[in-house]
């Protein structure tokens, strides 16, 4: 109960922020009824999905300050658990998704234990390695469809148990629900004991250790929370796209995107990943579809993307949220 109160309590934000949040919520609620095209709706779904990923990454990468570049493996675990259980045993989504989360949690503990002996660059590269190893295995494992991937069976009638709907609107509200659960969870998380411990670790590991914080255990916990978030998103991706392969759910570029959105928006802040996703997902999608029509322009969208990363990391490592904060301080 206490925790729930903490999660719903936004009183330590400024008034402007709270008003913006309410307006944003209303906007999201009525969005499908504004008569927008299906493409825009897909972009919105992608936006919320990537916000979800980004918020997950934010626990370990933002608050914990560990450069984690292997989140795609957990997207893969979530997606494959849902897809495989549905194909093999016809298990409904509502059962297979929690199982996917449990598998992601278990796997993250097993991987996290040796992983968090490492720091800095060593850690960042090691996370890439673990992710690539898993992708290589799935790429060659015939039982799970290898590089061809797997298609989910399509039901004739809409089916709530298997999350199959005719209209994107249902998916929209479902991912919106997950999105808000994630926001409330993160709102609680940043005020929780673990949240404070992580920020302490980020600032000064030696000091944190001398205060009796079990650094490694804290990091592992944050890492597995992040993994669970990402696995939920992965499960959603499987039922939404109805097709998954290692290249779409386990690619290194997905890990980078996840970390990037949180980083660009502003790591270690509640709104950061959301702002980052709101910025990058439309950029990615619209630019991609616009450039797709012009032959010979492939790659420009990613070049703009990459320029943004370089500029942000060189001039404002705290991201867009950092810039906003800066302006607010100057205004005062």
């Amino acid at each position: 109960m206490e925790k729930l109160k903490d999660a719903l309590d936004f009183s330590d934000f400024s008034k402007t922020e709270r008003i913006c949040f309410i307006i944003f919520t209303i906007f999201l609620l009525v969005f499908p009824w504004l008569g927008v095209g299906s493409f825009v709706k897909t972009v919105m779904i992608q936006f919320m999905l990537f916000s979800l990923f980004g918020m997950g990454w934010n626990t370990i990468g933002g608050y914990g300050g560990q450069v984690e570049l292997g989140k795609a493996q957990y997207v893969g675990i979530g997606a494959y658990t849902v897809a495989l259980m549905m194909v093999w045993w016809k298990v409904p989504f509502w059962i297979s998704m929690p199982i996917g989360i449990l598998i992601a949690l278990g796997y993250s503990f097993i991987i996290g234990y040796p992983l968090f002996r490492l720091k800095g660059h060593y850690f960042a590269i090691a996370t890439i390695c673990t992710s690539l190893v898993l992708k290589d295995i799935f790429d060659n494992w015939n039982l799970v469809g290898a590089a061809k991937g797997i298609e989910l069976p399509i039901h004739e009638h809409p089916d709530f148990l298997y999350m199959q709907f005719k209209s994107d609107t249902y998916y929209y509200y479902f991912i919106m629900g997950l999105f808000y659960i994630a926001i409330f969870y993160m709102n609680w998380f940043r005020k929780s004991k673990l949240g404070y411990q992580l920020r302490m670790i980020k600032d000064d590991e030696d000091a944190a250790e001398s205060l009796g914080i079990d650094i490694r255990w804290c990091k592992i916990k944050a890492y597995s929370i992040a993994s669970a978030f990402v696995a939920v998103g992965g499960g959603f991706m499987a039922v939404y796209n109805l097709y998954i392969d290692p290249a779409s759910v386990m690619e290194l570029s997905l890990s980078i995107k996840i970390a990037l959105m949180a980083m660009l928006g502003g790591a270690a802040s509640l709104w950061g990943p959301i702002i980052g996703a709101a910025f990058l997902v439309p950029l990615d999608r619209f630019l991609g579809s616009w450039l797709g029509g012009h032959k010979g322009l492939t790659g420009i969208d990613f070049m703009i993307y990459a320029m943004l990363i370089m500029i942000v990391s060189a001039y404002q490592p705290k991201g867009i949220w950092g810039i906003i904060e800066q302006f607010r301080k100057r205004g005062r």
Partner: protein, 295 residues
Amino acid sequence: MLVIDALLQGILIGLLFALVALGLTVIFGVMDIVNFAHGEFLMLGMYAVYWTNYFLNIDPLLALPVSAALGAVLGLASYYWLIRYLLRGPAIAQLFGTFGLMLFLQYLAMFLFSADYRMIDKGVLVGKSYSIGPFIFEGTKLAAGILSLISFAVVYYFLYKTKTGKALQATAINKEAATYMGIKTDRMNALAWVIGGGTVGIAGGLLINFYYAYPMVGILFVMIAFACVALGGFGSIKGVFYAGILVGILEMMFPVFGQLIGSDFLGPHFKFTVVYLAYFIIVVVRPQGLFGWKN
């Protein structure tokens, strides 16, 4: 027989891996930055030789200076235009900054050269092979191994025997003390990037002789280079030499091992998986590497 053959092939390719990883370890040693874009320098080096060969009909081996120069310029430009600014920020920003550079160069190559796989088909050594005793070597690989070894030796000589090289070493060991001795550390940083870019440019020029160039080729080799650097100990130059050879042998031996035990699953698709796993195990079990000096 199969085993010895794989061993020799592994050593040859390993010499090239060592040259790729050399730049990474020099940069890391001097300024504690991991350059994710290192593989893209390699990729652009490959393209440099490919296009000089394509348009000017110059033999790929004689076009090596082009790729070396391109690599060095790239290194210098990225130091002055990006890395210097990143150094002021936290470690996370440094990682993302070089990551951004990597993405940028990848898609620049995609934009300029398209995603096609390109390989050299004309050249003195292309397609030729030599038999030494019972073993058969491809001419291009033999040349790549030998030239890598020579390049590595030149850089090694430069770093350990010349005054500038020693200044670079001093900067790597203790930046502040080096500044007090009158060494301009900013210039040393730039020099490290020039060496890093130049060596990896040469490596790219050698690699194009027997490997496809495509915009995403870098990530594979940068992961191998990371494994070599980790194995040799981050920042160690002697270490990375032995580590490169070791990784080369590992990569060549693995498919042979799968063949020997008659397993389909442990086939050649996993030869790079082994490298990733090796990195993971090395840094976890022995973070200072096999011959490490900087922890």
